[in-house]
Structure formats: structure tokens, C-alpha cells
Amino acid sequence: MSEVSEEKEQSLFKAPPVAEQERMIEAMLFASAEPLTTRDMAERMPHGSDPAEALVHLRKRYEGRGVRVVKVGDAWAIRTAPDLGYLMSRETIETRKLSRAAIETLAIIAYHQPVTRAEIEEIRGVAVSRGTVDQLLEMEWVRFGRRKMTPGRPVTFVVTQEFLDHFGLESARDLPGLKELRAAGLLDNRPPPGTMPTMGSEDGDEDEGAPGQNELFED
């Protein structure tokens, strides 16, 4: 500390040594709220200082370091080394449960693949929003399959290897069938009270579903 103030005193008469000037511009470039020109620096430094020369040394010193002395217009600033830019962002990953619409759409694709959007809508009984399908595509759980050889040649959707990996399945055929779903209590998970008149008609429907479903997996 004392030698520094000694140097400062000397600076009244002659410019401080380059090493000291280098310290000065280092501090200024660090603390300044905007890039500094060599003129800005010279104005602040003791008389006779040559910031341009000190800058050459400082730039060299920071070569390959985590920050660099860079030219911004005709001024100078300290900036993060470009290859470390990733440290300046912090990614937080949030895991959310897939929406009901997405799960249902995914389930239909898995059980009925290859399946067209119109078929999905028919099975779900509601229109499938573009967002839902896009989300599944983005997650890479579904992808486009072959076009159907029907009028309009609609695109189909199939599940991906990622999907199988995520759910721990060897193939989509390993998905439990309707009988197994029923045995597992999943088909009757909403106990239909005796007063519900709509339930009965549905029963046959499910069984019919089974054969057709397997066909789809055959290819």
C-alpha cells in the first residue's frame, strides 16, 4: 500500500510506470458503467500516462482468460470470453405433468397407430388442438407415420422409440389391452352408479374396439 502512494506522489512529476498504468486501466474498465476510450482513461489518469500502451499490455494479460478486453466502437470494455457465455445463463428445468388432452391424444396414438388426426378426434370425441399434437411432436414421443391410402392421403401419427423408452416398453404392442385394463380396474375407475342410464350402451363398444386395435399394430 505504502509503495503505491509513493508512486502516486511521484506521478505529480512523471508518469507512473506502465505496470501501474495497467492496474489503473484495469480498475477503470472494470468499474466503469460504459466502455471507455483511451481519451476518457487518460483524462482520469495522472498526467503523462499513456493508456494506449498500457492497454496493449492489459489485453495481452487477458488473452485466453475468462474475460477479455475488447474494443467497442472506439472505446474499450471488459467482456466475458465468448466461449463462456453459457455461464451467464441459468437454465432451470421444470417438470410438469402432461395435460389430460395430451395424455389422451398420446394414448390414442399409442393404441391405434398409425392414426390420423381425424381418427383421433373421432375416438376422443373432441377436436384435437394443434398445440397438443405439436407438443407431443416436440417431446419426440410421437412422429409422423406413413400417409394413409385413403382419400386426401392424411398423415398419420405413430409413437417413437423415445416414447417406448420413457414408458419402459419394448414395443407399442406391449401396452396392456382393453381386457387387461379392465382387469386392472382401469376401465371401471369411475364406478358407474346404477342410476346412470348411459353406461350400458357403452359396454359392447369396448369389446369391439379390441380386434380393430390389433390390426393397426400389425404392419
Binding site: 421444470e94 410438469r96 398420446l106 390414442i108 393404441y111 358407474p192 353406461m199
Partner: protein, 262 residues
């Protein structure tokens, strides 16, 4: 829990106003309280605070207070309390100790006062040293152009096989798409009640409150209880009409009792 202790509610009041209000009360001739005044007076003794004559200090303080009174200066209560205490201390220091009296001796009290003065002086010295340090934003500086850390939030979605299967089951059973019907599981219909009563009436040889015929699961929830009570009552009336039971009630709002009619 921790912060709520004082004055949260009064927080928004301007700090400057409070400081001004404080200055009016506390500053007696520029002193911050009696201890500050004592400390200032002690300087006239020009000795180490540990060797200070508390007796002399008490005399000085009392003289100051007298003078303030003569000048009709408004003294804050603290100053007067201290004056009274110092007068007491003075008497303790001057008079020979009274063996019948307990409590700390005059010397103990004087020593503590000296300690307090020394401690206050020490804190003032510390404050000065602290404020004299190299300080951020004055002597040393932080980064002038901080690069903000961009916060990217990435959301990943997940689902389990069970979600998938339940989802599929939901679609295949179509309970989502059944026509809208009133949710009737809180209802106990008269048909249900009648069926139940017909089964039970054979056992009703004695008068029994019809409330005891409410089906299980319909007694706790008030809505369900109301529904079951109404339908059970209606079913009981139906049984009476059929000539299979009789009803009685002692008075208005008394229990309604039912008995098999043989």
C-alpha cells in the same frame, strides 16, 4: 415470525420525519441522552474512563441539570431520571454503608456507570473506525457493467404409463362424453327406499323410528341424509297405503315411528 416484532404496521412512515421527531425529544443542547451527556462531562476530567471519578461526574451532571432548569430548558424525562439516580448514587458514595440495607453498594453502581461510559466510548470509536474504512462505491468499486445472468426456464413434460392407460381407459369408457345428467349419487330415490323398506318391514314388529331405516352411508352428510329421510318417509307412506305398515307420531316434530301391520 422473526420480523414481525415491531412496527411492521407503522413502517411506511417517512424515516426523515421520525429522525426529526427523535431529534426534538432527545437532543438536549445537542446531547444524545443522559449517557452521552455524562460521557461529554467526563472528558473534563481528562483521565482514563476506567479511573474516572463517578462522584465528581454526578456532581457535574446534577449541576448541568440545575442550570438547564434555571434556563427553563425543557429536559427530556430520561435526563431527570438519570439526575435522580445520580443523586441517589452520590448519597450512597458519600454516606457510610448502611448494613441493614441490601442491594448493590455505591461502588458497584459507580463501577457499572464507568463501564457503561467506557463501552459507549468504545462503540463510538468503533463507529468512527468503521466509517473511516475503504468503502464500496467510494474507495473501491463493483463491476460497472454487470452482465445479467439470463434465466432460461425450460419446461419438460412427463407422464407415467399409468397416466397413459388411465387416459385411454377414460376415452374408451366415454364417461367424459356421456350426456349431461344430474349427479345423482347424493340422491336416495323413493324407489330405492321402497325396495329397502319392503325388505325390512317384515322385521318391524315393534314401533321403530323411521330414521333408523335410513340406508348406510346416507346418515352423515346432511344432503344425503335429507334425501334419504324424505324418500324413506314417502316409502313408509306408500307401505301404509298398501296396508303393510302403520305410522304414528306423538306430537309435531316428534319422531315418526313405523310398525309392521299383521
Amino acid at each position: 415470525m422473526v420480523e414481525d416484532d415491531f412496527d411492521r404496521d407503522e413502517r411506511p412512515v417517512n424515516v426523515a420525519e421520525r429522525l426529526a421527531a427523535e431529534a426534538l425529544i432527545v437532543d438536549v443542547d445537542g446531547f444524545e441522552g443522559p449517557l452521552d451527556l455524562l460521557l461529554t462531562l467526563s472528558r473534563t476530567q481528562k483521565v482514563d474512563l476506567r479511573k474516572i471519578s463517578v462522584l465528581e461526574l454526578a456532581r457535574q451532571y446534577l449541576a448541568f441539570v440545575e442550570q438547564a432548569k434555571a434556563l427553563r430548558l425543557e429536559l427530556a424525562a430520561d435526563y431527570l431520571v438519570m439526575a435522580a439516580w445520580l443523586a441517589f448514587l452520590k448519597s450512597r458514595l458519600l454516606l457510610p454503608p448502611d448494613p441493614t440495607e441490601d442491594g448493590p453498594s455505591g461502588e458497584d453502581l459507580a463501577a457499572h456507570l464507568a463501564f457503561q461510559l467506557e463501552r459507549l466510548q468504545a462503540m463510538r470509536d468503533c463507529a468512527a473506525r468503521l466509517m473511516g474504512r475503504d468503502r464500496l462505491g467510494r474507495d473501491f468499486f463493483a463491476r460497472g457493467i454487470p452482465e445479467d445472468v439470463a434465466r432460461l426456464r425450460r419446461v419438460t413434460y412427463t407422464a407415467t404409463l399409468l397416466d397413459l392407460m388411465q387416459g385411454y381407459a377414460r376415452i374408451r369408457t366415454r364417461d367424459e362424453f356421456r350426456p349431461f345428467v344430474m349427479d345423482r349419487d347424493a340422491l336416495f330415490t323413493m324407489e330405492q327406499a321402497l325396495e329397502r323398506m319392503r325388505g325390512l318391514i317384515g322385521f318391524a314388529g315393534t314401533w321403530t323410528d323411521i330414521v333408523s331405516y335410513l340406508p348406510e352411508g346416507f346418515t352423515a352428510d346432511p344432503g344425503r341424509r335429507r334425501s334419504a329421510t324424505a324418500s324413506t318417509f314417502a316409502a313408509a307412506l306408500e307401505l301404509v297405503k298398501e296396508g303393510r305398515a302403520e305410522l304414528r307420531q306423538a306430537e309435531v316434530f316428534a319422531p315418526i315411528e313405523l310398525r309392521r301391520r299383521d
